[in-house]
């Protein structure tokens, strides 16, 4: 397997405050990589930096193309779908309009329509609510909508920022089951940020552990799962 996304020596700032220190990441094609760490370790910042949403330095290479200087919009158009913290719902648009927004950047509208059917296969609940205002959806449904929106742009890589946040355990299980299917069936690679480490380790095949803006260690999920000291020190279980 070759790397789909390579991040080299990435630092990032919020105003004058430095949040990332020379981060190196490599995300395998077709795999699921988890980014774990305590609050404030820089997980969300890393996702934002990859999409050029904040001031940052270093290099980002997507499938051999340097995307460091590209705008957020361009990076998305190149196939990096970011499911943001807080779900980014367009609350006054209907569920259908939330999804149809992807038609704006897609040339192949016939195929996009097929993708919409596909999305509804993964999330039948969204189909039931197709004409509803997205702001009236439950938290779990809005998270599903966020993932569905990302899927609609036919991504090569999905960046997921705490998809379990604020959701009931059963809903979280459902969403992670669907994510696993999307990864396997649609061949979408994923980089997932999670507070719920056990859940993320279960889904991911590779893990990076962050602490105060730097990578502490990285390796296959099984390595972290089996390393009690590591788990206790950084993941708290």
């Amino acid at each position: 397997m070759s790397a789909l996304l390579q991040v080299k020596g990435m630092s990032a700032w919020y105003g004058a405050i430095r949040a990332l220190y020379e981060l190196d990441l490599s995300i395998e094609k077709g795999g699921v990589t988890a980014l774990l760490g305590a609050n404030g370790a820089g997980k969300t910042t890393t996702l934002r930096a990859i999409c050029n949403m904040i001031r940052r330095s270093g290099n980002t290479i997507l499938d051999g193309t340097d995307i460091t200087r590209r705008s957020t919009e361009d990076i998305v158009r190149m196939g990096v779908a970011h499911v943001p913290e807080g779900r980014g719902t367009f609350v006054a648009l209907t569920v259908e309009e939330n999804l149809k927004l992807a038609f704006h950047i897609r040339r192949d509208h016939a195929e996009a329509r097929r993708d919409m059917d596909l999305v509804f296969e993964y999330f039948p609940r969204l189909k039931e609510r197709i004409r509803q205002q997205a702001g009236t959806l439950s938290g779990g449904e809005q998270q599903m909508l966020a993932i569905a929106r990302a899927l609609m742009i036919r991504p090569r890589l999905m960046l997921l920022d705490e998809p379990s946040f604020g959701l009931a355990p059963l809903v979280v299980q459902e969403i992670f089951r669907i994510l696993r299917r999307i990864n396997a069936e649609e061949h979408v690679s994923m980089l997932i940020v999670e507070q719920n480490a056990a859940l993320a380790l279960d889904l991911a095949d590779h893990v990076y552990l962050l602490e105060t803006g730097s990578v502490v260690t990285s390796g296959p999920s099984a390595m972290v799962q089996n390393d009690e000291t590591l788990r206790k020190a950084y993941l708290g279980y």
């Binding site: 999409c51 949403m53 705008s71 957020t72 919009e73 998305v76 158009r77 779908a81 970011h82 943001p84 980014g88 719902t89 367009f90 609350v91 006054a92 648009l93 309009e97 149809k100 927004l101 992807a102 038609f103 704006h104 950047i105 929106r149 742009i153």
Partner: protein, 290 residues
Amino acid sequence: MDFFVQQIAAGLTSGAIYACVALGLVMIYVSTDHINFAQGEMAMFATYLAWAMIDAGLPYWVAFGLTVAIAFGGGLFIQRVVLKPLENAPVLALVVCFIALLSIFNALAGMIWSYTIKQFPSPFPARDIFGNGLVSVQQLGVVAVTLIMLGALTVFFRYTTLGLAMRAAAQNATSARLMGVRVSWMLALGWGLAAAIGAIAGMLVAPIVFLDPNMMTGILVYGFAGALVGGIGNPMGAVAGGFIVGVLENLVGSYVIGNELKLTFALIVVIGVLLLKPAGIFGRVIVKRV
């Protein structure tokens, strides 16, 4: 009774124009949270362009179409060149910038075309529509043009993906960017549309009030009142508000306070709405959690 109907018809006619101005204001407000004080002067300037074209011998509707197109391009240009560099500037800087645009357009029009009042042709005859002296073809034409424009805009925003992208960008810019929408261009498009709508308002009102560089000053106040009455964040509300202000202004002017105080009435409406119902009739109250 006839007088009452005449006043309503005249009110709806000016209301249609206020609705256009209000819509232009709302178009920019929903996506940037700014009130473009230069909206009226931009419309006035576009109307002068139309006048110059008609004066040069172009047929009315050709000049009308060209003016709308040029206004659209001009609005786009202003956003790209003047406002984009101010993206992260404080609100006051922007207000100053809008006022600067206002005086630039005003002075430019005076410089090029002089401050003497000019007659602007109307494509609609002034004769009665039913022969009973109540409603003129001119009045009906103004309302019809406004409604056609509204219909076109509604179709654009509701049924095209570009319209959808513009709505998404106005609602949640960050999230729209993450869907690949070029938000900054959507703002420019919004400015283009606002300028085009303003140009239509200017060309509709010019035959009634005559063309001069200060033509839109009062009308902008009415348009602003209309936008506020309807709810400044709601395009449909702004249009309804424009019509409401137009009709009320006429009725209050003819029955209560007389024509001289009409503009005062608009200002009272502005203050009244802001004091009593800041969200307007159709606006949503936005509660911010702190």
